[in-house]
């Protein structure tokens, strides 16, 4: 492999990984934008989504086989189901806490995250489940870079979901309400906007997107596990911060940037893979200290 080939291959790797990060980061950023809550449980919704998708796929594969149609069908159904779970969590756990001190709601979010991951752990005995779809490794060679069809389909669907979301937020009335609530909740209430409904909708969309990423990851990597949400939750948060938390285009950009950073970061000879995480956490910490608004975030004068 020449250096150019390595570069192109890592570029492809980074884009694929980055689109997963972006999908999960979107949920973080939307929830944060609207109620200023750091939803620790978001990464676990990705994990739950993956398991629900797995269950639905096993249930309907008798009907549709292991085809793309079956995968699409299970993805849509699990997005609906976990989206509703997200709304339920918001209603039960976060709604009563909105006026509580910041510390309490953060700990509540942490507790929700633990409840989700430990429930799945108890149900699966902590075992890895093989997510078998048998899509094969066929693909195309672009120069010396090999990309499978599965990878192409995944990136395209992630991009599709993000475009739909962007249009929804910027072209519909609900989207407008969402953006308005992010700016001033009380004023929106006075203007007759059903704030609670819009917040619920935000949780629904965020959870559904994380689920989409979870099902895609299951299909792509072939195995799912109760703890898989933790790492990606952190990474997605980093992506959201890179892009500027609260900003939707920022989350998409941040996801891609982080994916590329990780892909090329492992190629730097001085930083062995053993230091990879120190590298990404280091970036996160420095960013939070020196540029907490990220690449596309707005300056915000607020404390605590």
């Amino acid at each position: 492999m020449s250096n150019l080939d390595i570069f192109l291959q890592q570029l492809a790797n980074g884009l694929i990984l980055g689109s997963f990060y972006a999908l999960v980061a979107l949920g973080y950023t939307m929830v944060y934008g609207i109620i200023k809550l750091l939803n620790f449980a978001h990464g676990d919704l990705y994990m739950v989504g993956s398991f629900v998708g797995f269950l639905i796929l096993s249930a309907i594969s008798g009907l549709l086989g292991d085809s793309w149609a079956a995968i699409l069908c299970s993805m849509v159904l699990s997005m609906l189901a976990v989206g509703l779970l997200g709304v339920l969590i918001q209603r039960v756990a976060y709604q009563p806490m909105l006026s509580a001190p910041r510390l309490s709601i953060l700990i509540t979010a942490l507790a929700v995250s633990m409840v989700l991951s430990n429930t799945v752990m108890a149900l699966t005995n902590g075992e890895y489940k093989a997510f078998i779809t048998d899509l094969g490794y066929d693909g195309v060679d672009i120069g010396n870079v090999f990309v499978t069809y599965t990878q192409i389909v995944l990136v395209v669907s992630a991009a599709f979901l993000m475009v739909v979301l962007y249009l929804f937020v910027h072209k519909t009335l609900y989207g407008k309400a969402m953006r308005a609530i992010a700016i001033d909740q009380d004023a929106c209430r006075l203007m007759g906007i059903n704030v609670n409904r819009v917040i619920a909708l935000t949780f629904f969309i965020g959870s559904a997107l994380a689920t989409a990423a979870g099902v895609m990851a299951g299909v792509y990597y072939g195995s799912i596990h109760f703890a898989m949400g933790f790492v990606i939750g952190l990474k997605a948060f980093t992506a959201a911060v890179i892009g500027g938390i609260g900003s939707i285009p920022g989350a998409m950009l941040g996801g891609l940037v982080l994916g590329l950073l990780e892909a090329f970061g492992t190629q730097i000879p001085a930083i062995g893979t053993e230091w990879k995480d120190v590298f990404s956490f280091g970036i996160l910490i420095l960013l939070l200290i020196f540029k907490p608004t990220g690449l596309l975030g707005k300056t915000e004068i607020e404390r605590m």
Binding site: M1, I6, Q9, Q10, N13, G14, I16, L17, F20, N125, G126, E127, Y128, A130, I132, D134, Y137, F146, T148, A217, Y221, G222, S223, H225, A227, M228, F230, V231, I232, E262, A263, F264, G265, T266, Q267, G272, T273, E274, K276, D277
Partner: protein, 371 residues
């Protein structure tokens, strides 16, 4: 009022604990079992406990040891050093004569001193980090081949396959790092090249960047020294990226789950393994009995756990007394004890004299014996 409820609560908890501590029934010969029965490694731990209990019931049916019936007490180490010390203290304070146990090396390590201080003879069936050898106060005996033996098996295979450039990947835990480091030392010591020495974080799914990096170093073989779950992912992504040469995995990856998760990608992967029941002709009766008693298949360490208990009973018989020093001496003098996993004799470091490692290869979605 509140204080009183509080006192009552603490008192109740203490009473519960005291009862637990004294729950050990008065018996002829008490032998402790230390395995993880909760936590991430509970499956393996319970499997070992089953195998040991099977051994005990066979011994007792045949008249016991020195005319005494064996009674076992299980201490749960949860594969966690803190809980392991609690479990070890529990066994020591229950006045056990001997202990058979130790699955996770990290959890077994701090218990060696506790058993050592109490002078209790111990047989370690599974844990095999080389750190256990240095930390052993002299009362513990390892019947699983150590990391050194596995490295020798691995290096032999690589040599036979004409490997020149080796890539090693571990997972950043004591076990897999130990194995990776020893392999690197041995391999470079023989004048060969380790072109990549990488670490993967537990639970991370995407390994594409790592895979690309490894592929660019053009290794003839990739050696994964850690556990099956992430190993399957690495194998799959290596094959997906077009790596076609040899892949080998360490004994932590010896699981049918690896083949299930990695699917077709795992075909032809080599695995170094301690002797598991299915490849041991001598263990057939044991395996049948195990299935009959526990309605499940014996897992990776069942055979060694069974041998461990049998060996301990044998040593006590040979010592002719329950004196702990005499038992330790008898254990050290073990010569070709016929276990179902192979003959057991000890080196002067209390490790297995003759390695019992085997090489498996994945064929048609199943592990089969190679050679």
């Amino acid at each position: 009022m509140k204080k009183r409820t509080m006192l009552a609560a603490i008192g109740g908890a203490l009473a519960g604990l005291l009862m637990l501590g004294q729950a050990c029934v008065a018996a002829d010969l008490k032998i402790g079992i230390m395995v993880p029965t909760t936590g991430s490694e509970a499956t393996a731990g319970k499997d070992m406990e089953n195998a040991m209990k099977l051994a005990v019931s066979e011994i007792n049916d045949a008249g016991g040891v020195l005319g005494m019936q064996i009674v076992t007490i299980t201490g749960d180490d949860a594969c966690d050093p803190q809980q392991a010390t609690a479990a070890a203290s529990k066994l020591v304070s229950s006045d056990v004569t001997a202990v058979v146990g130790g699955y996770c090396s990290g959890a077994t390590l701090p218990t060696l001193k506790i058993y050592g201080d109490a002078g209790i003879p111990m047989v370690i069936p599974a844990a095999n980090s080389t750190k256990l050898i240095t930390a052993n106060p002299g009362n513990a005996f390892q019947i699983n081949s150590t990391g050194f033996d596995q490295v020798n098996t691995a290096v032999d295979l690589f040599k036979k396959k004409g490997v020149k450039r080796l890539a090693i990947i571990h997972q950043g835990d004591g076990y897999s790092e130990d194995l990776a480091r020893l392999t690197r030392e041995k391999w470079t010591g023989m004048g060969n090249e380790v072109v990549a020495y990488e670490v993967v974080n537990k639970g991370e799914q995407d390994q594409s960047a790592l895979v690309t990096r490894i592929k660019s170093k053009r290794p003839d073989a990739v050696f994964w020294t850690a556990y099956y779950a992430d190993g399957a992912m690495v194998i799959k992504q290596l094959r997906q990226a077009g790596y076609r040469k040899l892949i080998a995995v360490g004994d932590g990856s010896n699981s049918p789950k690896l083949l299930e998760i990695a699917g077709r990608a795992a075909e032809g992967v080599y695995c170094f393994s301690n002797p598991t029941v299915e490849y041991l002709p001598a263990a057939k009766t044991f395996a049948d009995n195990y299935r009959k008693t526990f309605k499940q298949n014996p897992d990776a360490y069942a055979a060694l756990a069974y041998d461990g208990m049998k060996l301990m009973a044998d040593a006590i018989t040979r010592a002719g007394t329950t004196d702990k020093k005499a038992i330790i001496k008898a254990l050290a003098e073990t010569r070709d004890f016929q276990g179902i996993a192979g003959p057991i004799s000890f080196t002067d470091k209390n490790t297995l004299a003759k390695s019992n490692f085997v090489i498996l290869v994945a064929k048609g979605g199943k592990w089969t014996l190679y050679q």
